[in-house]
Symmetry: C3
């Protein structure tokens, strides 16, 4: 077997027994996936996934960054190719280097899919590469492996995508029109029209104005266009925005200052510092709009995007070369929190890539401000050790109820059940330790386990 | 039962057996509480505590910050009210939200008091709220629940308060005059007269001069007044100073520079940077005076005080909105350490709110400089996980003997035994792991456990 | 017994059984020590070590920094004395304070040597001090305690020293000429000729030019001299360089800029910022030369050297007063990585003193760039807890194969087997936990254990 029924539970037998019982209580709960990067088109079209390499290797920067770090060429992996020329060759390279993933969450997610979805019992390796390739290829053409069938079999209750304001959301409309009862919702991600460093920023804003019948060349028109875009998202069930900024900086400019800065930014005359202030101000503007339309805000700061220039120039964005930086929240969020931090109608979910902030800044902030909640451990920390540290570093100050359960945050659709399963097991393991150490009563642990797996995420994201 | 006799011990049965034995060795040792915020007036007057809400909710920012973070209004909790209008109503709100504290040290401290002091066996909840309220209210009027009786039943050997230089210490004198044999001592906390940003700074300094017959309008007179204030504290048994600065910055100005800066600061003409230098210089001045009078220095840096302006303006200081910031010690302490760091007669106890400094800066500094000792994990880190991380992150570089045992640092008098009990259990659990992993011999673990619970704190604070 | 056969293994019995099996598999593998600070002269001359104090106390800043932190005078320990006047007196002070090392790796290393090399069974203490002194003194004169005999009995396969470019490597030549078959190799450590703050910088460069027949007064001649020095090291088996910079800053200047900066630096006209840029540029130059000659680069940043001025002025460098600082890698390495980061022929091994960088920066960087590898936990983190945290914080993002096994990094020759033993035990304990938690298959754990103990270090250092 590739995965064991007791995987990720604490080794101590007494604690493991408690963990097992807690897990049994939550293992079958529906999945809520409010922050993902799957593509609505998959569900709109419901066509078969093309081949194993295109499914597992090409879209997953967790996978190819590890291979690249050990000298495998991106070209040999089909990265940057519209259609992979020789998917079997890519798959063989992947299989041959599968040992590199020992001890990583990627390995755990993949093994879960391989066993639970495709029925493999022998480990992927050079030896089994072709068997895997042929067997997966064959299954992908079957009805039960089509995107909609998988969505159903995964017990997904809600799945959201991530979409720019200029997206017409045709695929979401098509899903609705199709009569299929799944709840696939858009998320409003305005980076492309609020971050002056985003490629095509000015054009994106021009299009934004056009699409919404506003003159986005001035501050008021721009804000109105954003409001209308949000309303359009809301009609299709959207409940949240998402903001991927380099820092958590916020600002509280006067309207005149903001309008003036907007003109400079739009004209390309703002320097790096002014661009940062603009992004900062836009977080505050988004909070203001959230108070109007009820959208939950998600802030994902702290990544140095496209650190590897060569890779960026040759292969583009999201190629595994985004590297976290030290992140400050306590000073950066101060302007926004002083403006809206005491509003009970506002929910802001904070994510982090810098674990030193968890006990120092994030838990103390979330344990005080009514609007703040802590998102689950993100990205490199979406892992057993990362999740365990997250609970150890935040629970004592922020409690469980200022956190929001689990997000899978993935482009790899097939990994969704595996990722939720890891989170449920780790949370149950953490709770089991609290029970074993008599820090939490067992009846309470069952309640909390349910909240962490299902209740908190629904409430936080207003789903 | 609310608390279990094996609580906080490691789950592994073999390790737990060792932890139990170590704990049995130290559980009944007297409590030394050299850094607290209880009020001397309680012991001078020895009057009953008024009611459960005023005792447990109103003074405890750990409690109401959590309730506030989940949408409970501060007004509804009686915060900012001189006398709580309807304490039963406050208590019911607290009881109804008691589940929020699951997994937090606050819950553990409260349950300890509820069971050990008041005899409750059923958990606090909406259902038991009135029972708790009535039963506690009744007991508070009894002789054995008066402050002095509690002091004795807690097995306190020393309890210190925290007092500004302008305090006449009348309550301390009254305790002495009463003939009661308890050892309740003041601690010299000069923030109000060394921090230019402290409310009423100039007035405080004028009063300081007046009280001590010195012209505090000039640098020399100011320093003399401080010296005399320290001497006055010393007469009442004070052995330590405490410094709550935003950063750990120290300075080593010439006398002329210092005098000039003092004039500017006192005249309100110093900018933020100069105010910081003034605080920095005052740490060095305090060290110089400590070499004269033997006071131990405690430095508590790294908090962004009153982060929430709305809460500060409406309810004042210490309302749960102080948030830690990244803290640097290695550069900040350099001026002071180069001046006095090699003095064997000096003891400086460093506290932290930024755990990333523990293995990086604090353990290496304390493992070298003869004057430095590490204070116990402070505030948000005064918790089982925080204490365990503290030992894991400091012991290998600084050893046990450069730490100073436990401080409860509390305003909540009734939580003192619970807090010391948590520290003793966690330290015994840590030592038990070292023994179980054959990293420390068992006979040595018993010696160290005694030092951590009792010996080191007496020696470090010169009590 | 001083050390237990199960030391450092996890306490849970099931996990311990797995750890024991893994350890049995790697315990006897030869030691590869590619980054040490032993002296080639010991092996060239093969004379007896003089006495216990000179062997264990005087050269080991881990030892005397702890004693100093607790008030022992450096003079009383013979620090700074060319020959210790009264080694027995020093030894007695050390023995009397041996309890200070409880819970530290130093204690574990010493106990290992005391038992395994010298056969002691009773703990070092005031009582046993003289017995230890006499017994060790006697043994040191015997043939099996001479440096070469110890090298052989330690099962060392490779041992490298650390040498400045101006070293003529006479001792290395003498070892080769002696016909002794040991593999003792130099490492190229150019700090003395690339760091403008290094004592004697300009003289060192003048000598560098002279030794290699180049005019080191200009940029080209300087670089040529460095190239020739590297070639000279390579002839004696050197495979690596080592760089002990205050920060990880790198630069990518044009040749004209670099030449101009070099002139300013050499003339002593560069300010602190320019000196930093020069060191930064020299890392990039060293990378360029590594692409030519195949040397592996080691970068050790983040230490505030000689923090204690009094100690530095009185006793010199390396006296236990180097204190870590926050370190940034993600921005600092960007210039070098953009220049050479995608070169498969280059290997750069990064070390750290700031653990907050492990999951935030170092694992993400090493999990992407083909040239990067993570060095083992260094210095204060060369410890059981430090090693365990290192694996917990890096494995999930960088895997095992982007790390390089273990380095002992020691001046204390006798501690080498103990240090490797600690690393092997901790790595096996970590792997055992992964197996017990079903996160890694047992057959894979055996393979990885072998790689961590032996395979990866050979490959990374090209030995």
């Amino acid at each position: 077997m590739l995965i064991h029924e007791d995987r990720l539970f604490p080794a101590d037998p007494g604690t493991r027994r408690i963990a097992r019982a807690l897990y049994a209580h939550v293992a079958k709960l529906p999945l809520i996936s409010p922050h993902g990067h799957t593509q609505a088109s998959w569900f709109a079209k419901n066509e078969p996934f093309p081949d194993p390499a295109t499914l597992f290797v090409q879209p997953d920067h967790y996978v190819f960054r590890m291979l690249y770090s050990q000298g495998v060429s991106m070209d040999d992996l089909g990265i940057g190719q519209a259609v992979i020329e020789d998917p079997r060759k890519v798959w063989r390279i992947f299989a041959q280097h599968y040992y590199l993933f020992r001890g990583t969450p990627t390995r755990m997610w993949l093994d879960y899919s391989f066993q639970e979805l495709f029925g493999f019992k022998e480990r992927l390796s050079e030896k089994t590469a072709d068997h895997y390739f042929d067997s997966i290829s064959e299954k992908l053409t079957k009805a039960e492996y089509l995107p909609r069938a998988l969505y159903d079999s995964f017990h997904l209750e809600v799945l959201t995508t991530t979409d720019p304001p200029n997206d017409r959301l045709e695929n979401h409309k098509a899903i609705r029109a199709s009569g299929w009862k799944a709840r696939i919702l858009p998320t409003f991600r305005p980076d492309s029209v609020v971050d002056p460093e985003f490629a095509g920023f000015a054009e994106n804003i021009a299009k934004l104005g056009e699409m919404h019948g506003e003159d986005s060349g001035n501050w008021k028109g721009y804000l109105n266009a954003l409001r209308k875009a949000r309303a359009r998202f809301k009609e299709l069930g959207c409940t949240a925005t998402d903001h991927g900024h380099p820092t958590a900086q916020t600002a509280d400019l006067t309207e005149a200052e903001a309008a003036k800065l907007y003109s400079a930014v739009l004209a390309g005359k703002a320097d790096a510092a002014q661009q940062e202030v603009f992004r900062a101000q836009m977080l505050t503007e988004m909070a203001r709009m959230s108070l109007e339309d009820g959208f939950v805000m998600q802030i994902h700061p702290g990544s140095f995007r496209n650190h590897n220039q060569y890779v960026y120039e040759r292969y583009g964005r999201d190629m595994g070369a985004d590297i976290p930086r030290p992140t400050n929240y306590v000073d950066a969020l101060h302007p926004l929190l002083n403006k809206f931090g005491n509003e009970k109608g506002l929910t802001i979910i904070l994510f982090m890539l810098d674990e030193s902030t968890l006990s120092r800044e994030l838990a103390p902030l979330a344990g005080h401000y009514p609007c703040l909640r802590l998102g689950p451990p993100w990205w490199f920390h979406d892992s057993p050790e990362g999740m365990m540290r997250f609970r150890e570093l935040t629970t004592e100050t922020a409690g469980f109820y200022n956190t929001v359960g689990f997000n899978d945050d993935t482009r790899a659709f097939l990994s969704i059940p595996a990722r939720h399963d890891v989170a449920r097991r780790i949370d149950c393991g953490f709770l089991a330790r609290l029970v074993a150490e008599h820090r939490l009563d067992e009846d309470e642990a069952f309640e909390v386990a349910h909240e962490l797996a299902y209740g908190l995420v629904k409430k936080a994201y207003r789903l």
